[in-house]
Symmetry: C2
Subunit: 211 residues, 2 copies
Amino acid sequence: MNVLAMPSTRRNASQRRRAPQIIDAAARVFAERGFHGATTQDIADVLGIRQASLYYYFSSKEAALELVCLRGVEGFFEAAKTIAARPGSARKRLISLIESHLSPLVDRADFVKVFLNERQHLPRESRRRIGRWSRGLERIFEDVIKEGVAKGEFRADLDVRLATLAILGMCNAASSWQRKENIDVRDIAEEFARLVTDGMGKRPTARRKRR
Amino acid sequence: MNVLAMPSTRRNASQRRRAPQIIDAAARVFAERGFHGATTQDIADVLGIRQASLYYYFSSKEAALELVCLRGVEGFFEAAKTIAARPGSARKRLISLIESHLSPLVDRADFVKVFLNERQHLPRESRRRIGRWSRGLERIFEDVIKEGVAKGEFRADLDVRLATLAILGMCNAASSWQRKENIDVRDIAEEFARLVTDGMGKRPTARRKRR
DNA sequence: TGAAAATTCTATAGTCCAATAGGTAGACTG
DNA sequence: CAGTCTACCTATTGGACTATAGAATTTTCA
């Protein structure tokens, strides 16, 4: 049942030192070919070891996917919760949420991509767990937006649910083109935040806070 | 090389009458489990026929994917091109583009979803072909937005490329939640269009055109 | 109704792949 | 330097899955 294979339960803590590299390789391969399209042989090739040797690090291919997905989401939720609880306008917090949501693309792009595209193939149990997490994150965005409407920062006729889905959709899509487009993640965050708050339209008195 | 298996080339035109149903079933299964996660047995089960019988309708699993992807995109490009060429403001045309881009979700959701998520698994040749198509569609959105900036309808400092990617990202994401959320596609289009043009922010004089 | 065409079937070949079993070389430790 | 642990290895099994061959059944229509 445990994610890590545990052939021997010993006192020593420094077990499986290369585990992070193995998971990196799995993330890369899963991101490139998809979970079912990737073989354990592919992962082994990246590492230069034999296919069977991988099973020293994880007990099944699905367990490897779970490890990758977990690293793809860890920190997300806590960061978002912290931001949402901060003082300040809903608008400012929403901008921070977008930045925070995009930031893992810098150093964990493969993990995030795998989480977004392959989590459906996780075994029942972990899929449910991660589904709950995912809905929790949506909720945080939604609540901040709702608050913004209540406080009159955002339009009263805004469909909060749809706005949430739109923002998450555009942010998540970034995982599929960020590398290819070669745009700095901070620039993406800035432009996206501006887009959803101010729109594309020209307006008489532009609301500014930029440096 | 042809997508459809052609064992006998005869005069009669009414060959493979059930083909549409077979492709429907393939789309459903591919949408649910992904291309590599789905088996031809799964497709056969949906239809109530034997696995091997499918090969009367397509020559390989990949060929089936290609048929599904083609139906997922057919019409898209032409419709978008027509809209972009219409007279009227860039803003109005962009709104139409968004509506048009979302409309296939009504009756072809599975096909669109498969196209978006599984096209990477198409064989080289058709992948390139469909890739070109995809870039063409991006281009249409981008050009309309660019025109809007040039004509002063949109902010001069708008990052046209990022705005395009944002809009397509949010629209495409809809394929993954539209059914579950049970929101009318027209409402989604309306809200998304409003969001990207006007933003969420409140403003002194709301720009209105609603009936 | 009967022949031809269309559609589905049975049976199976052949490949790919996840996972297990058990062994070994080298590093660390007392 | 003997024992133990880490990190691989070789060899293989068993299952799942695509695709082919050819027979059987059903439908079409002259």
